[in-house]
């Protein structure tokens, strides 16, 4: 069965600094998708970034980038130039897409940003 593990329940970063959130997963599939979702205190969860397993190039979205290591089954999120608005719960998720659309989530990492 597929599992997603986020080993850091809480993280803290100074404003303008860089922080990396860890995520590992377990799967026997070769084609899948990985996601980082952000849930600010207001509770609406939004997609931050996604990675297709068949792509070797790491995904990047502005200040957010991932380090995808397929062999190691690792998918970390790097946030550069952290801003106060980045404070949130961050969830790593795995999915196969298609008819098996359900996502498997990690427990989440609570990120605090210090001014």
């Amino acid at each position: 069965a597929q599992t997603v593990t986020q080993s850091q329940p809480e993280m803290s970063v100074q404003e303008a600094e860089t922080v990396t959130l860890s995520c590992t997963y377990d799967t026997s599939e070769s084609d899948y998708y990985l996601f980082w979702y952000k849930q600010p205190p207001s509770r609406q969860m939004i997609l931050v970034i996604r990675q297709e397993a068949y792509k070797q190039q790491n995904a990047t979205e502005n200040r957010f980038s991932v380090n995808f290591q397929k062999a190691a089954k690792s998918f970390s999120l790097k946030i550069s130039d952290s801003q106060l608005g980045d404070a949130a719960m961050y969830f790593c998720a795995y999915g196969l897409g298609g008819s098996q659309g359900n996502l498997i989530f990690g427990k989440g990492t609570k990120l605090s940003v210090k001014p």
Binding site: V4, Y33, Y37, S42, R43, Q44, M45, I46, L47, R50, F91, G95, G97, G98, S99, Q100, G101, N102, L103, I104, F105, G106, K107, G108
Partner: protein, 113 residues
């Protein structure tokens, strides 16, 4: 474009009572998902609709939970009778046909006392 909406935002009920949660997906999204997060644990998948049909309900905890999606539009999730362990945040998400990205609603926080 309106996002995924859920109603109510918070519900407090007593054990043994019935509660119905509602989710309105983004217009035109065929796929609708229900997830639940119990305090301190992972967000867990409950079920997946494609239009009005249940594609996958493997995550439904037991027969006290009934989900419907009338006409392939909004969906309801009924819990009857509610138990203490049903407390948590219930999320709804939707995606386009063939789409990978799921758009989440704000969730309904259910407290069973």
């Amino acid at each position: 474009e309106a996002g995924v909406t859920q109603f109510p935002s918070h519900s407090v009920i007593e054990k043994g009572q019935t509660v119905t949660l509602r989710c309105d997906p983004i217009s035109g999204h065929d796929n609708l998902y229900w997830y639940r997060r119990v305090m301190g644990k992972e967000i867990k998948f409950l079920l997946h609709f494609v239009k009005e049909s249940k594609q996958d309900e493997s995550g439904m905890p037991n027969n006290r939970f009934l989900a419907e999606r009338t006409g392939g539009t909004y969906s309801t999730l009924k819990v009857q009778p509610a138990e203490l362990e049903d407390s948590g945040v219930y999320f709804c998400a939707s995606s386009q046909a063939g789409g990978i990205e799921q758009y989440f609603g704000p969730g309904t926080r259910l407290t069973v006392t």
